[in-house]
């Protein structure tokens, strides 16, 4: 029996949505053959960057079991999560949690915020008495810089966006999972609040040994917080490697274009060249020709890029690129 040393393993994951009416069904390839893993032995923050339509949110929803995959495998500690139902699924959530983008939508307005903290305690048997539960809640709120007195008993609309997001983080702290999937957790917050959330996430990893999959379109944030980085484009994974390496020396032309376009908060580091935006754009995730999806915009394109799908090539132990330039 193969000993699987990975906490989470995503293998050739593909998700196709069917859009349009019954008469004109079209395939939308949201996630196209994506593979990566989160190791078991040490905590890791795995960043996924990509623009809208890249499929990164769909990857999150697949890992969390909200939607079913079309093909490929998602293995948690070696077991296929597709088969999880009832008790097994509950155990999965005991170990895999999530933070969502919209700090308002994540709460049911009709209940107090206490509920998101009390429910997991009850469902996962995290405390044996009311006192123990209250202590656990207080400690968790403290860990995210909140005071239980100022938070408990309030309704979501009585807290600010930053506070709500912190309560969500406190909730995950309470559960102490092995992995947290964070889908754009700061995109609806102001700069001064973003920093706190990012620091809390780093803290969770270092002190509580929790791994993260951090999904964002803000590359500066992902750089700050993640250890490994994966770039996605129109559903495909394009480059994967250690964050500092991928950002400093991007190999894939798309990653390079992304990194060059990130605005840096330093007047000495302005964008250099001018970018040409396409004169007209077509929805490309529908029935793509089986070739490199970046062909149209790639400054380094070659003939072969137009005819074959670029394979994921190993550059080094941790660095992979899907580009014919490196074959």
């Amino acid at each position: 029996m193969e000993i699987n040393s990975n906490l989470l393993e995503v293998k050739n994951l593909t998700k196709i949505f069917y859009v349009g009416s019954i008469f004109r069904r079209q395939e939308l390839i949201a996630v196209d053959n994506v593979s990566f893993h989160i190791p078991l032995e040490r905590p890791l923050i795995f960043g996924i960057i990509g623009e809208s339509g890249s499929g990164k949110t769909t990857v999150a929803r697949l890992i969390l079991g909200f939607i079913k995959k079309t093909s490929g495998e998602i293995l948690f500690k070696g077991k296929n999560i597709e088969k999880f139902k009832g008790k097994e699924l509950k155990n999965y959530y005991r170990e895999v949690q999530a933070i969502f983008q919209d700090p308002f939508g994540a709460f049911n307005m009709l209940h107090s915020v206490d509920r998101v903290l009390k429910t997991p305690i009850k469902k996962f048997n995290l405390a044996h008495s009311n006192n123990e539960a209250m202590e656990l809640i207080s400690k968790s709120l403290e860990a995210v810089g909140l005071n239980a007195e100022n938070v408990l008993g309030k309704y979501p609309d009585q807290l600010s966006g930053g506070e709500r997001q912190r309560v969500m983080l406190a909730r995950t702290f309470l559960i102490r999972p092995k992995l947290i999937v964070a889908d754009e957790p700061t995109s609806m917050l102001d700069a001064s609040l973003k920093a706190d959330i990012l620091n809390i996430i780093k803290d969770f990893k270092e002190k509580s040994l929790i791994s993260f999959i951090y999904i964002s379109h803000n590359i500066s944030e992902v750089y700050y917080v993640s250890d490994m980085l994966m770039t996605m484009y129109l559903g495909s994974q394009v480059e994967i490697g250690i964050t500092k390496e991928v950002v400093k020396e991007p190999l894939h032309p798309y990653t390079r274009m992304l990194m060059d376009s990130v605005p840096v908060a330093n007047p000495e580091q302005k964008w250099r060249e001018k970018i040409m935006l396409p004169a007209i754009e077509v929805e490309q995730r529908i029935k793509l020709a089986r070739a490199c999806k970046f062909y149209d915009r790639c400054p380094k394109r070659m003939n072969i890029c137009h005819t074959k799908i670029p394979p994921l090539i190993d550059i080094s132990k941790d660095h992979k690129v899907a580009c014919f330039l490196y074959s």
Binding site: F66, Y93, V96, A98, A106, N108, V116, M168
Partner: protein, 287 residues
């Protein structure tokens, strides 16, 4: 079972605070409760033979013995009225309960499950809504020989569940996609719990308003059938009383204590129910 218990506590909690300050609701509710109490107590207190045909002299105006006089079949009008009110309220209750609860369950389940199951259910719901219910009721009642008032109520309920189902399904479909549902999922809650604690509270007030509406609608429908002679002929409801008074031409013949008291009671019942409906409507708006 514990889910249901928590469910009802939840619903009561949400309602109690807001509703008691609502004037419309309280007045309507007061009247309604008074009506229920009078009819139920009256039915218990009076000896049942006050309803026997020929028990009293025919068509006597109000007197010391018969507070509201007697009808063309020698029955005490006051007692008949109380019995009829009780029976009509029972019809209303059955229609509202079956219609609202059945409709809600179908709506929640269909909306939450989604997919093809929901699409098919949606079509069925739309069918029952667009169908002219009174016509069908008349048709069904004419074909089936109904004996029991409860059967009449159930037949009427067939056409009242769709309204609740549609509203609930629409709301469920829209709420299903929200992040807080996902948060509940990953907190270990199962589908039933999510429907009960996350989705149902949004519908609580709407469903209450629908309940009252169905109640009223049920009484109206039964009265309509009764006047046409298509309800349970052996039972006495307000509609049946109307039927008998029309049969004996009470209006033309000046038996005002008979037709007058029926109309008065009907008005009272409808007004109190309608006031409650307005009250709930206002409360929903404030939300």
């Amino acid at each position: 079972m514990s889910v249901l218990r928590k469910l009802s506590f939840n619903a009561i909690n949400i309602k109690a605070g807001r509703f008691l300050s609502n004037k419309w609701l309280c007045t309507g509710l007061t009247f309604f409760v008074v009506i229920i109490m009078i009819s139920v107590i009256g039915v218990i207190l009076f000896p049942s033979d006050y309803m026997r045909i020929g028990r009293f002299p025919l068509e006597r105006p109000p007197s010391k013995e018969n507070i509201l006089g007697t009808d063309s079949m020698g029955r005490d009008v006051f007692f008949s009225l109380l019995m009829a009110t009780e029976k009509s309220l029972l019809v209303g209750l059955i229609v509202a309960a079956v219609g609202t609860f059945l409709g809600a369950i179908i709506g929640f389940t269909s909306g939450y499950i989604g997919g093809i199951f929901d699409s098919i259910t949606g079509v069925i719901i739309d069918f029952f809504i667009s169908v002219p219910s009174l016509l069908f009721l008349i048709l069904i009642s004419a074909l089936i020989k109904v004996m029991d008032i409860r059967q009449v109520a159930l037949i009427i309920a067939i056409f009242s569940w769709a309204g609740a189902a549609r509203g609930v399904r629409a709301q469920t479909l829209s709420l299903k996609e929200r992040d807080f549902i996902n948060v509940s999922k990953i907190s270990g809650m199962n589908s039933m719990e999510i429907i009960a604690f996350d989705i149902m509270p949004y519908m609580a007030q709407w469903l209450s308003a629908h309940f009252i509406n169905s109640f009223l609608g049920g009484i109206l429908a039964e009265s309509g059938l009764a006047i046409l002679g298509l309800s349970a002929m052996n039972e006495m409801t307000l509609g049946m009383m109307l039927y008998w008074s029309i049969t004996y031409n009470a209006l033309m013949r000046g038996l005002w204590w008979w037709w007058g008291s029926i109309i008065a009671m009907l008005t009272l019942v409808f007004t109190s129910l309608y006031m409650m409906h307005i009250g709930l409507d206002k409360a929903i708006r404030k939300m």
